[in-house]
């Protein structure tokens, strides 16, 4: 039997699997009979009523060092191999040359026909000669996030808003042909991204290249609208608003007006309708024929918007447009995010009665050839000092240990209750 003390893993973006980096384990060959045993002398039962279990949700800032916000000027792209850049881009919180640069999240772009990546290959005329990388991304997300009977139809995000960019009656049945996605890092969002507590600000230019007024504030509507059950966990709508409060007078039905995307907190994914984003922040029309690139100064950049380059003969790097629109927010907060973690917490109330635990097996407690209590002042009035608590199962196995910050005096005139909190 192998017993693991610690296993360190990292998510492999290529394989979609968790790879083990290191493990601290050992082979246990001991006899099982050695593990069953009676209780220690004087062990006190913990009653059911003295045990309180609960699960505590702990939230923290999503970004490095527990920071809850990321400004536009802090947003950079991280280094990545060319093959990966055809699929996604990483965002880091400082200049990528800095030793403290750490990947905060990734952005990706998917298109159902592969537009924005090379689908021609060696062919001069056959547009579907290859399956483009962004097509793979689109299908990866449909497979991951949609029910089986929805997957072939693709994402239909924008159509659920009366003011949406795509009507349900369009030629493709209201389908979003392309999307942008923000994919959180598991180690940062812990169990899930905290809903109702996030805002994303996107800033870009209009179709003529002007950009000062094209700013979107987006959040989820979970505070007012119930979630949709999906194979990828609960799904919430991404709507215009901030910190869980949709804009407008009817926040409960903000999604029915305009839905910008779907938020999967347990997957750490925010999926944005490309049509909806590009309707609000299209970027310079000329930019739709250009390959996006990251720049620290995006003032005159023509790819500063979500109108994608649909070229099928190369990598258009459309996913960079999302990072550029975060970057363009400037010194203000582009992202405000929290992680959320469930912690199982058991509380044990150890009630120590007056007559109990007033003597000690500590060798310094007694002395002399007859093992007499060392101090005469303790005769008839013994005093002990509690420094720790051991918790056992009924087989007598010591399963948890708690230490007091300083010894607690105990005698026949005192009682104590120690609440031992075990979190795991």
């Amino acid at each position: 039997m192998r017993i693991y003390n610690e296993v360190v893993t990292i998510f492999n973006d290529l394989t979609g699997q968790w790879d083990t980096i290191s493990e601290d384990s050992f082979e246990y060959n001991g006899n099982d009979i050695m593990l069953a045993q009676g209780l220690p002398v004087g062990a006190t039962p913990i009653n059911d009523t003295d045990t309180v279990a609960d699960t505590v949700k702990t939230t923290a800032g999503y970004f490095t060092n527990g920071d809850g916000t990321l400004t536009g000027t802090e947003t950079y792209t991280g280094s990545l191999s060319d093959s990966n850049e055809k699929h996604y881009f990483n965002a880091v919180q400082t200049h990528p040359d800095s030793s403290s640069a750490v990947v905060q999240f990734s952005t990706t772009y998917g298109h159902i026909l592969g537009m924005g990546s090379d689908t021609y290959g060696d062919s001069l005329s056959k547009a579907d000669n290859l399956r483009g990388e962004v097509q793979s991304i689109y299908r990866q997300f449909t497979s991951l996030l949609l029910h089986e009977n929805e997957q072939s139809g693709g994402f239909k995000i924008s159509q659920q808003g009366s003011a949406g960019a795509i009507g349900s009656g369009d030629a493709n049945g209201g389908r979003d042909d392309y999307f942008y996605a923000l994919v959180g890092k598991r180690e940062r969002f812990k169990d899930r991204i905290n809903k109702k507590a996030w805002t994303i600000v996107l800033s870009g230019s209009n179709s003529s290249g002007g950009g000062t007024s094209n700013v979107l504030y987006l959040t989820d509507d979970s505070k007012y609208a119930s979630s949709t059950a999906t194979p990828a966990g609960p799904r919430h709508n991404i709507v215009s608003g901030a910190l869980g409060v949709p804009t407008g007078s009817s926040p409960a039905v903000a999604y029915a007006h305009k839905t910008f995307g779907w938020f999967y907190p347990e997957m750490g994914i925010m999926l944005f309708s490309g049509n909806q984003l590009s309707a609000s922040i299209p970027g310079n029309t000329a930019g739709t024929a250009m390959t996006a690139s990251f720049k620290t100064d995006l003032t005159a950049d023509k790819t500063l918007g979500f109108g994608p380059n649909l070229n099928q003969k190369g990598n258009s790097k459309n996913a960079l447009r999302f990072i550029n629109c975060l970057r363009h927010v400037g010194s203000g907060n582009a992202l405000r995010l929290r992680s959320e973690e469930d912690q199982t917490q058991e509380n044990y109330f150890c009630r120590i009665k007056a007559a109990d635990y007033n003597f000690s097996a500590n060798p310094t407690f007694s002395s002399g050839s007859d093992n007499k209590v060392r101090h005469v002042s303790m005769h008839g009035n013994p005093q002990t000092f509690i420094s720790g608590v051991g918790l056992y199962n009924s087989a007598g196995h010591l399963l948890a240990v708690a230490k007091l910050s300083s010894p607690l005096k105990k005698n026949f005139a005192s009682e104590a209750t120690i609440k031992v909190k075990l979190t795991y």
């Binding site: 004087g42 039962p45 913990i46 003597f359 002399g368 002990t384 608590v389 056992y392 300083s406 909190k421």
Partner: protein
């Protein structure tokens, strides 16, 4: 008039290796008992001559910061606190042969001697002696054999928990009923001098005493190292 302090002491616990193992095996912890320890406390610090009076006799102990709990914290659970009658002055102790409290109990086999020996076991300062039974911890059962009324048992409970924590492969615990008064210890042949520390534990009181056994090499045909 001041406020009464109704606060409860809250301490954070950490799982021991044994606790983590049970969780890894998918078994619940099912914690149902607790014991208290004073490991780290030295009662010689109790100062009955403190100038401020009896309330301050334990000041040096109470003000001592504790080390924080660690996954290997079973080592902190060495000395259990016990519950006896208030007027108890004499603490129980284990007598091995003629070796009592404060005396190092030991046995050394003579050169060329292989015969086993008998050792008497007794619990002192308790009327009627041991009432529940005995435990004997042998850290390496490949070196000696135990006979008499003793049967192999398991590690845990009264036995110092650090043995279980360290997964000592050859450690064995023997149990004997309360009526047992002796144990017979035999040795095996060894190519070097070996020393073992046996531990006798009273189940009813938790009192324990160590017994050192030393085995010179036997047969005496190789150089002692």
């Amino acid at each position: 008039m001041g406020y009464l302090d109704n606060s409860t002491i809250v301490v954070d616990a950490v799982l021991t290796k044994q606790g983590r193992k049970l969780l890894a095996l998918g078994q619940g912890l099912n914690i149902s008992y607790f014991t208290l320890t004073d490991t780290g406390v030295d009662y010689s610090l109790w100062n009955p001559d403190h100038p401020s009076g009896s309330a301050y006799y334990g000041e040096a102990i109470e003000n001592l910061p504790n080390l924080e709990a660690l996954p290997n914290s079973a080592y902190f659970m060495r000395n259990n606190l016990l519950s006896y009658d208030r007027n108890t002055k004499l603490m129980p102790y284990v007598m091995l042969g003629t070796f009592g409290i404060g005396q190092t109990a030991s046995y050394i086999w003579g050169d060329g001697q292989t015969a086993g020996f008998n050792l008497t076991v007794d619990l002192k300062n308790v009327t009627g002696g041991e009432t529940v039974g005995w435990q004997l911890v042998v850290p390496d059962s490949t070196l000696i054999s135990i006979s008499g009324n003793w049967t192999p048992s398991s590690i845990g409970g009264n036995v110092q928990q650090f043995l279980l924590e360290q997964d000592i492969a050859n450690a064995v615990v023997y149990d004997a009923p309360s009526t047992t008064a002796t144990v017979t210890i035999d040795r095996v042949n060894t190519t070097t001098t070996r020393t073992l520390i046996l531990t006798f534990i009273s189940k009813s009181t938790g009192a324990y005493k160590h017994f050192n056994v030393t085995m010179p090499k036997y047969p005496n045909t190789t150089t002692n190292t």
